[in-house]
């Protein structure tokens, strides 16, 4: 743990912002005022934040359908995100994308993606840009456990190795793809091992432990920045909400989520570690949570008050010129 106090505050602040964001989105979605499909990231915050803490704007991430956490970790504007989720004209994507396609190229966030696995090849492209234009940037692709069974992801891993690109794959193993368990869907049961067989180092870490994720990612990112090619981590941590909002989660065991929230929660683990080590105070952490809560609350208020896009917006942004 060689992180500065500022880093620790930033890490917790971002994690708790994601948590507050997702819990609030769950509540807002229940009101029926939020359109579309929403997939929540609560429970996995340590992965996104551990992976992105050391990234810069020139670094690029490709996300998944469960993208809010990655967005916030990569520095996207929370109010802009909330506006987008409500389909507002001033949302991050002008209300045209929504939760499943939220993106911010200026922040190096190449988009959530409604197509499972599609981010794999895209992030290889971002890696190619970094290598070709010598930007010094790295490219991080988030891939769910279920997504690791997609042809696109396999091809992407191989191509990243073949071209020796500055790419890091973050396999987010939350045990479930939609309603199917990893034990069923991944033949070998071993995501990291299968990925490593493509010819790159892949470390398995406890995704509930921010420090473990961050440490492993530090090595991967350094490798990539030094021109030593791709690598990956498999980070294990459960999701707390259904696959999508509205999912009754019949595939879960009794009390499963409660157990996770109680015993495996990444925020609790973080708190415990920094408090035990005397690195931060309770008050610091509570303050960050309150700040996050307020930020999210303000965002919801702004979003609810904001105008929807209209007729003039329907046929813009399809082409640069046509």
């Amino acid at each position: 743990m060689q992180l500065s106090r500022d880093d620790l505050l930033s890490a917790y602040g971002t994690m708790v912002t994601i948590r507050e964001f997702e819990e609030r989105v769950a509540a807002e979605f229940e009101t029926g005022d939020m359109p579309g499909f929403v997939h929540l990231y609560a429970g996995e915050e340590a992965i996104a934040v551990g992976a992105c803490l050391d990234l810069e704007d020139k670094d690029v991430i490709a996300s998944t359908h469960r993208g809010h956490g990655h967005c916030i970790a990569k520095g996207c504007d929370v109010e802009g995100m909330m506006l987008e989720l409500f389909g507002r004209k001033d949302g991050l994507c002008g209300g045209k994308g929504g939760s499943m396609h939220i993106a911010d190229l200026d922040r190096g966030m190449l988009g959530a993606n409604g197509i499972v696995g599609a981010g794999g090849p895209l992030i290889v492209g971002a890696g190619l840009t970094a290598k070709t234009l010598k930007t010094g940037g790295v490219a991080i692709g988030f891939v769910g456990d279920g997504a690791t069974n997609q042809g696109a992801v396999f091809e992407a891993m191989n191509l990243a190795v073949v071209l020796d690109l500055p790419v890091v794959f973050v396999f987010e193993n939350n045990y479930i793809g939609e309603g199917t368990g990893v034990e069923y869907s991944v033949g070998s049961g071993d995501i990291a091992g299968r990925a490593a067989a493509f010819g790159m180092p892949v470390e398995k870490v406890d995704g509930r432990d921010f420090f473990a994720v961050h440490e492993a990612m530090r090595a991967c990112i350094a490798r990539a920045r030094n021109g030593e090619g791709p690598s990956g981590i498999e980070a294990l941590s459960p999701r707390y909400y259904g696959h999508f909002e509205g999912d009754p989660q019949a595939y879960r065991g009794d009390g499963e989520v409660e157990k996770y929230r109680d015993k495996d929660d990444c925020l609790k683990i973080f708190r415990q570690k920094v408090l035990e080590a005397g690195l931060l105070e309770e008050g610091d952490l509570d303050q960050l949570r309150d700040k996050a809560r307020k930020e999210v609350d303000d965002a919801v208020k702004a979003a609810r008050a904001a105008p929807a896009p209209g007729k003039a917006d329907l046929m813009t942004d399809i082409y640069v010129s046509y």
Partner: protein
């Protein structure tokens, strides 16, 4: 006869065909759900709940959950169909065809021809399409045109529960590959649906409303909009003949042409984007086959040439609807 939703009608069809023929198997992502987890079996029964209950009756041997590997799913369907099964594969959203189109385009569709007639590939792909749920650009497309363009495939786009059941049973019994499109907003629509199995032949459009002033050709959900439009037009004294295509491949050219020969006017309605669409296809057909009887320009009512937007306000503007059909019809039949 009982009222059944489209969801129930499709479930009925699957269950009855599985009972009738042990070669019929169902496969896809979470067609049961819960595999490898601690909760309930058959936890989803398909993400839209359409296959619910089949797992309990037919077990994992015939209701096959798969990893998220659409190419392997489609290929498994094609390969098993060519070797003796009659698989019904679920592709959760037709938009995902992008990741697995080869197994349809270059494999299933072409086996029979490439192999000189020595293969049959009796597979069905059930998939969802269409807008209206705020599912945005990657989960709302209407890709039946892309399949209609491919020789060797049949394409079904039912508009009601009765048709859904009869056309799906036909699809399962059919010896050619069939893509079956279900509109994601229509599953709860109910209709009189017989309990027993029945088939509806492909390539026979359904004339839903007689009328001599204008022909409205539509498919899938647009049939509902076309009927509503016809009612509104009738209020203004314009009698529209409404034709539900039911299948786009084969296409019932005869019924379309005969109708246009009667009315002299055509509006084609298609929820898809306009270019190379079913709307364009039917318009082109009529421009060639019924030109002499045409009294006015052929109108196409489609989504615009844009991806499907997320915000409900935009999506509403985007989707074709009864009012747009009425406006188009009035332009040529007022």
């Amino acid at each position: 006869m009982a009222k059944k939703t489209i969801r129930e009608a499709i479930n009925d069809a699957l269950r009855q065909e599985m009972e009738r023929d042990e070669r019929v198997v169902v496969m896809g992502e979470d067609v049961a759900g819960g595999a490898g987890l601690d909760g309930e079996e058959d936890a989803f029964g398909g993400v839209m709940g359409v296959t619910k209950g089949l797992y309990g009756q037919f077990s994992a041997a015939r209701v096959i959950d798969t990893p998220i590997s659409e190419t392997a799913i489609m290929g498994m369907a094609a390969g098993s169909a060519a070797t003796g099964l009659r698989p019904v594969a679920e592709l959760m959203f037709c938009d995902f065809m992008g990741v697995c189109f080869d197994q349809i385009l270059n494999q299933a569709a072409k086996f029979r021809y490439m192999f000189g007639g020595k293969a049959t590939t009796p597979m069905v792909v059930r998939t969802t399409y269409g807008g209206g749920l705020g599912a945005a650009a990657q989960h709302s497309q209407c890709l039946y045109g892309m399949f209609t363009a491919v020789p060797g495939i049949k394409v079904v786009v039912p508009s009601n529960a009765y048709d859904a059941k009869g056309l799906l049973i036909q699809a399962i019994r059919d010896d050619d590959p069939v893509i079956f499109f279900e509109h994601k907003t229509m599953y709860d629509l109910a209709d009189e649906v017989p309990d027993e199995a029945y088939t509806i032949p492909f390539g026979e459009a359904n004339i839903l409303r007689e009328g001599s002033d204008v022909t409205i050709v539509a498919l899938g959900k647009m049939v509902l909009e076309a009927r509503e439009a016809a009612d509104k037009l009738a209020e203004d004294g314009i009698e529209a003949q409404v034709i539900d295509l039911r299948t786009t491949s084969p296409l019932d050219e005869e019924t379309i042409l005969e109708s246009v020969e009667e009315t002299g006017r055509l509006v084609v309605v298609d929820e898809a984007n306009p270019r190379c669409s079913i709307a364009a296809d039917v318009a082109g057909l009529v421009a060639g086959g019924a030109f002499e009887m045409l009294k006015a320009p052929v109108k196409q009512v489609t989504a615009p040439h844009a991806p499907v937007p997320f915000a409900p306000e935009l999506e509403n503007l985007y989707l074709p609807n009864a009012d747009k059909i009425v406006a188009a019809a009035k332009e040529i039949a007022a």
